[in-house]
Every structure is written in structure tokens, then in C-alpha cells.
């Protein structure tokens, strides 16, 4: 039996600043994972990844990351991806500083 596809979002780092960003349905990049396109179909996800990677002048290192649907939009399921939505734990730097969460 083929392994079931777990839902994904596309994420990368912004070329100039290097911060984590997520790919939206509008083909733009958002600093908030809730804005990401939620991908539930494998073939569609692979296609969108190619489209995302084509924006090489905006981002670097795009990849598919596991996600789940939450109240405000997609959310990370793995702790690594969760850290990328916040920033480091030793200083209030990164996204947690910009978002004041």
C-alpha cells in the first residue's frame, strides 16, 4: 500500500534577510506560517515546490515541511519547524521579537 501523504507547507529562507518564510497560494512569501498554502495532495505539492524554487531571486533552500491545519491556518507538526516560526530559545530574537508573541 502506498504510504499516505501527510499534509505539507512550502518553506524557505528569504534571500536577503535569511529569515524563515512560507509560500502562499498567491505565489508570495509570508513570514507567518498561517498564511501558507496548505498542501494535501502529493502531486500538487511537488508542482508547487517547483514553482516556489523558481523564485530564486527571493528565497533560498525551499522544501516541503509537514504541517497540520489549525484554527488560524497551517501549523507546524515538528519541533524544528515550530522553532522556525519563533526564533531561538536563548534570546527573544527572530520572529518572536517582531510578532511580540
Amino acid at each position: 500500500m502506498p504510504r499516505q501523504f501527510t499534509p505539507k507547507v512550502i518553506t524557505a529562507n528569504r534571500l536577503l534577510e535569511g529569515d524563515a518564510v512560507w509560500f502562499t497560494t498567491q505565489d508570495t512569501w509570508s513570514g507567518n506560517i498561517h498564511d501558507a498554502e496548505f498542501l494535501t495532495d502529493e502531486a500538487h505539492a511537488d508542482l508547487r515546490l517547483l514553482e516556489a524554487q523558481a523564485q530564486a531571486h527571493v528565497i533560498a533552500g525551499a522544501y516541503l515541511a509537514d504541517a497540520k491545519q489549525g484554527d488560524n491556518g497551517p501549523e507546524p507538526t515538528h519541533f524544528r519547524e515550530a522553532f522556525r516560526t519563533r526564533g531561538p530559545s536563548n534570546y527573544p530574537h527572530g520572529k518572536q521579537e517582531q510578532n511580540h508573541v
Partner: protein
Amino acid sequence: MYKYNDFDEAFVRERVAQFRGQVERRIDGSLTEDEFKPLRLMNGLYLQLHAYMLRVAVPYGTLSSAQMDRLAHLAETYDKGYGHFTTRQNIQYNWPELKDVPDMLSDLADVGMHAIQTSGNTIRNVTADHFAGAAADEVADPRPVAELLRQWSTDHPEFQFLPRKFKIAITGAEDDRAVIKAHDIGLQLRRVDGTLGVRVIVGGGLGRTPMIGKVLRDFLPLEDLLPYTEAVVSVWNRLGRRDNKYKARIKITVHEHGIEEISRLVEDRFTAIKPGFSGVDQEILREIETQFAPPAFRNAPTDAYDAAYAADPLFRSWADTNLTAHRAEGYAIVSISLKKHGATPGDATADQMRVMADLARTYGHDELRVSHEQNIILPHVHKSDLPDLYAALRSADLATANIGLASDIIACPGMDYCALATARSIPIAQQIAERVEELKIEHEVGHLKIKISGCINACGHHHVGHIGILGLDRAGVENYQITLGGDGTQHAAIGERAGPGFAYDEIVPAIERLITGYLALREHEDETFIEAYRRLGAAPFKAILYPQEARDAA
């Protein structure tokens, strides 16, 4: 201190200009990330979890005050006001923006610094004993040799595309403070019957397959060092496994072919290439040596020190842990701890860097060192200046008296920054340090090395920690594996895995059990953790870590 000659200067400027062009072309879209990545890595620029990271080399860990001031300037201007000193005697900036990096490199070039060969499959920054040129137990200052190796390896045409990175460490003392047995090549300067030579150790390394280096030549005449090193790298360059990056390091080559075979190949190669070394390298070495001449030590009474030591218990405690014997009478080596309890190991703010630079200027012959244990050293301070120096350190929050103790922890950036990490390491270090401070036990516990890595690459040297902690991802949850009995000195040993790993909220209590359990196990107050471990073996320590299993077995 070594000063750039015109060639070094021109070379570094040229590299900055090249990289500026490459960054511009990446930003305007003419270079893809695949094309740009090897170029940025050649210049020490990584892309991590939340931002870019620039790794700046501090060759053999030696800095002048002006260079330290410049590091502070970079932290303030292009980063968030701090920098992270690493186990490879580098400094890493965690938040630069891509467009600023060429300016950062240009600012560094102004003070003779760069980020070249801090990354990639090249011969990396040569590391050295951080007490070099000052230690009482040293036969010779290893830094001139380190500088010779740096010049020889920088942009060496044969060695820009090695099978993998290659790391050399050097010491001039029997007491190994440079972890030479965990490097691709470890060098120890030795004097035998009045002649200076080198013990060459090869094939050490940590990472996925940790190995302790083996002696390749017990005593090599110093003048043969470059051809011999070139022979070693050249033999490995040919035999090294390029098919599998985990097997590409020389430790695997030595393991697969055996030290006898490697030795035979190296000696053959050495005989073949030696005639090509005309002795110019030795002239260069003589020239370099003059630049590392010791400072003019003064002869002065140490009464002020003795008085403060007798009168002030805080000063006494700091002096007892943070000072090391100097080879010049009346002098001491000062270790400034970047391990304040609860702080990030190895981090210093721009202000702290400036304070340390000023102190080096005022009291320390303008010299600072970065230690692989992520602390800063003032190698030459006259004892009479120590009370004033201590007061200045206190007001800059830099007077933590914990060198060599439980809270003097090495921790890699882990999953707070590093894209390769499988778990966090910094918060574990912070919590252990806070806990031992709450318990007020570290001075009683004494010498103890705790080292933490956030993945199997072992940047935090966990394999050679008396207590090593390795952060892993177990089914999507952080999990921490403990190794015991590792040692990074001349008695080098790889720690043994203690048993199943611990969850994020279990690891600090587990370490606390180990520390307090050791106190009950030791024979007398002077028996250190590692000595007790060697005497008793792993069993009683495992019983402390896993009390339930121990009961079940009983």
C-alpha cells in the same frame, strides 16, 4: 603578534572584492543558490534556521585588542549586539543580512582578519593551545608553526577540493589543551636531547564515527614538518573516500587501511616531495618567529595580589579557578569565563568585547585568546594588576569563577540556530549551570567537563566530555543521550554511552543525579569525576542514572 605582509593583505582584499561581486550577482538573480552556495561557504557564510551566519576565523585563537574591538563593532553594526565564540576558536555572528556581509569582511580585512577556509572541504583554521606562549609547561610556542601551516594551506592549489574538511591542531605542551587527538592531524612540539621536533598524530576526529588519533611519527625534525604534513594530506587526498561524505575523513582512511599502511605511504610520499622544499619554509618560519617574540615582561612585586587574595574571598575564589601558572615570574594567565550561570556558553556582547579589549590593552600586552572551551584568555597579566582587573571584570559581568567546573560547559548552537541540529543544546547548558549554581556545589565537585552537541556532528565535543550530552530527534521529540568517561586531553578517550536517552525535561535532573552521586562515590575530596569513573567503571554511574533498572535487576 603576526602582522599581515603585503601578500596576505592583497590576497584578503581581493577575496572581499570577489565576494562582493558574487553577492551582487546573487541578489540581482544572475547566480542561482546552487551556484552561490559553494562561494558563500568558501567565505564562511552559512544559511541557518532563522538567518545567515558568518563564521570568522581567529587563527590559532590569537587576537589583538584592535581586532577584538573590531569584532565588537561587527556585533553592534551588523548583528544583534553579540557574537558567539566557538570550540574551533572562531566567532560566529548569527544575524547578518546578505547585503552586509561584504562590508563585514571588508571591516575585518582592515584589522587583518577574514572568514576564509572556515568552511568547505579545505584545510580549516589551524587551532592551537590557548595558553600558547604563556604556559609554564610549554617547550615552545606552537603559534609560529600554526602560522606557517596557515600560510602553506591557504589557497594551496592541491588542497582546495579535498575529500572533506581537514582540521589541524597544535600544542607545545605535554598537557594537551588543544584536543590534538581529536583532529585530522594533531601536532605536539617536543624537545628531545635539546632538539625541537614534532609528534605527529593522525586520524582523530569526532562526529558520526569518533576516533582517537594515532601516532604516525613520534619525533619528526621540525624542519620536515611542511613536507611531512603535505605528504599526509596528499596520501589522504588520493585514498580518501569521496563516495560517502561520512566516510571521507582521514580517520576512516586510517581505520580502513591501518596505521602501518598509511605510515608506509606517507613516508614514501614524504621522501618523494621533500627535495622540492628548498628550505625557504624554514626561513619563513624564522621570520614568523620574530613576530611571536614574547612581550617584555616586567619585574615587579606582587604584594597587591597577595593582599587582595588574603582579604577578599570573592577574589580568592576567582583567582583559584580562573588563573593558570605563567612561565614568567610574577605573571598569571587569566581565563575570562563566558559561562555566567544561565547565559549562553560562548556569547559575549559588544560591550563585553570592548571591556576585554581594553583590559588586554591596559594589563595584558595587547593580547587575547579564544579558547576551544568558549572562553576568552588574557595570556600575560602581571599579578599586581589582578585586583584591578578583577574589579573591571566584575562591573562588566565577566567575573564568573567557574573555569573547569561543572558550569563551564561547551555547547554548540544546536537547534536554536543550526540547520543541521536534531535538538537544542543551549537551553540544556543554561539549565544545568543554573541548577549547579542553585545547589552551590560546583566548587565542591571540582574539575568536571560537560559538553553538549545538538546532533551527531559533535561540534560541542560531547564524545570527549567527562559527561557528554548528545541531543537527538526521537520520533519527533527532543531526546538526550549521555556518554560518560570521555576525555579531551593527552589521556584522550571517547565517552561510553550510558543507556537510553532522556527527555528534554528529564536531562537536567539526570545530570544532577550524576553530579551528586559522584560526590557519594569518590574516595576522597581530590578524586575528580573522571578519576572516580576510571577507578569504578561505568556500573555505579549507570545505577545512579537509571535507579529503576538497577532496582529491577537487584
